[in-house]
Point group: C2
Chain length 337, copies 2
DNA sequence: ATGAAAGCGCTAACAT
DNA sequence: ATGTTAGCGCTTTCAT
């Protein structure tokens, strides 16, 4: 690493400069900033005038050191670049905006080592706490890395964390199957996804089917991508043409639709299709995709809210988010009138 | 705001705890961390052992105070939740990962006041510098808010900033028109966008047309949304059916495609369509959208790189990014063989 | 090679 | 109502 200039930002006026200029002690300046009501109006006015004049901006680093708080909270996500996590981060930011807390977002690429590095870097910065989504770290591990820190976990891959928010993927899968069944579909294929979320969605799907005494038409497992959705259609059509296909992600559903179109099967006339996520693309597909909404921004807001309540001394608790159905135009009732 | 617990994170071992336990001075511990080569191997080993034992993690707040650097850089974007800015932020993060710098991302909702607040909050945190994209602040304003700070500006709405990166929207519009003209389209409509970027794209588009002696079929201005794209088609079809429609955003292009389909006009057989951005949805539309790519991640990386070089003392300079054509399946040659 | 001491910018007893 | 002073965790001269 090269040589870093550091001289430029050095000349910011500090509390002492203000104090001297105003002819008061630094304590008085501090009070003018933090507890103005405890100051003589005259002095206050004089101090604030100097603050203005010098363009004094308090240095939070100094304050943090004595207060033992940075008013920063680390947000650990797999990748801020991805829409889901971007929205999630934005939700946290919105919620925290009302407080004095500022989120610091770090991406891990879903790598355990990078996650450890991230946690460590945030601890070094003495953040007041951590919000982690889709973490791969075991509770003991994270406690070792960030001891005694306020933490909120969203959908950790490894169980046993307190202060959890879980998105109920089982309920989401169940909801999708329920919608298809209620609108008269019988032969329903599922393009499942990986990881816990994929498995949970499949589980909920199967549960609803079994309540009806139905078997899945086909179960195919993909990796959440468009290509996986396209490939799944090949497999499915080898068996026959189902009434409906439920894919565990909107991307896979997009692939499913595209492949069905190519095979000359119109959506939803020939086959109904459902996705999962309510990815921004869902509404833009033609026809717009019926899907299960994961309210990412809301999830972020909820996480922010839970973090705030933790700092205020609230007991550990968990919450569960139940996804909702967004009915658009890729599903269509098969009930005869 | 309620009462915040603060006792939890207080008991982190500090440099003095390590020093005492190892029977050395704090200076030695500091050296063990920062300049291990200047220590007696025996002492070093002993100190590091205690560091391990106690789980000592240096407190960057203290270090920042004495060093006058936080190794943090503020990133000011309109909204981290939007794909473009999320990718941009991710690009910065990737570039900065190799250094000791950590980005702190703040959203402003494109509001001047929020932007001032953001700048101020980041200055309070004593960030080493600022990266701003689509800023609405005048150079003097931002200099007043963040005096003597390293700054990189990307596409500011107000000109006159140093260390700029500009995305050449004129070239992008030119490129789109060029592609359509070279593939034999004559009657070309443009659905323009707002702001400087929208105007620039339109300008480039018109420039290429005029080189050919062509007039635009229609010029309609929308607000970058899907709905604007749909509405534009109504207006365009009032005049007639063009050979091609070039929309200033992929979202508008998606709306254009949808409306054309509804009107019974197949894309690209009846009408070619082009978008702009290479939004993730572009590849997923059916048919996949031909568009102009704004390499958002690359833009972020470039911004990070420029910031790093600034800190290393490099002179102020500007860069321009020229977008590239991504040819997919919504355009089709009208040249007879 | 290591330690003692000063100081980065700030706040909070404590004193007046 | 305001000032004095100590100290938050760390690095860095200056001694030794």
């Amino acid at each position: 690493m090269g040589y870093f200039m550091t001289s430029r930002s050095q000349n910011r006026p500090n509390i002492r400069a203000v104090a001297m200029q105003a002819g008061v002690s630094t304590a008085t300046v501090s009070r003018a900033i933090n507890t103005p009501e405890r100051l003589d109006p005259e002095t206050l006015k004089r101090v604030l005038h100097v603050v203005q004049e010098l363009g004094y901006v308090p240095n939070l680093t100094g304050r943090s050191l004595v207060m033992g708080r940075t008013h920063a909270v680390g947000v650990v996500v797999p990748n801020v670049g991805w829409p889901l996590f971007a929205s999630f981060a934005r939700g946290i930011e919105m919620e925290l905006n009302a407080s004095t807390l500022m989120p610091i977002i770090v991406s891990t690429d879903d790598l355990q080592d990078r996650e450890k590095d991230a946690a460590r870097a945030l601890v070094e910065r003495s953040v007041d706490g951590l919000i982690l989504i889709s973490s791969n770290l075991a509770p003991g591990e994270i406690e070792r890395l960030a001891p005694n820190m306020f933490r909120v976990h969203i959908n950790p891959q490894i169980d046993g964390h307190e202060h959890q928010i879980r998105v109920d993927d089982v309920a989401g899968g169940y909801l999708a199957a329920d919608h298809l069944i209620k609108s008269g579909h019988k032969r329903i294929a599922h393009v499942a996804g990986e990881f816990r979320s994929g498995r949970d969605r499949a589980q909920g799907f199967l549960k609803r089917l079994s309540e009806e005494g139905l078997e899945p038409f086909v179960l195919y497992t993909g990796d959440f991508t468009v290509e996986a959705g396209e490939k799944s259609v090949d497999k499915i059509l080898e068996i026959g043409v189902p009434d409906a296909i439920f894919a565990a992600s909107d991307l896979m559903a997009a692939g499913v639709c595209r492949a069905l179109n190519r095979a000359g099967l119109r959506v939803p006339d020939a086959v109904s299709v459902m996705g999962y996520d309510d990815n921004p693309i869902a509404a833009l597909l033609d026809p717009p995709l019926t899907t299960i909404r994961q309210l990412d921004i809301e999830l972020g807001k909820m996480a922010g809210k839970m973090f705030l309540s933790l700092m205020e001394g609230e007991e550990a608790h968990s919450e569960i988010i139940v996804p909702e159905l967004i009915e658009r135009q890729t599903t269509r009732s098969r009930l005869r009138r």
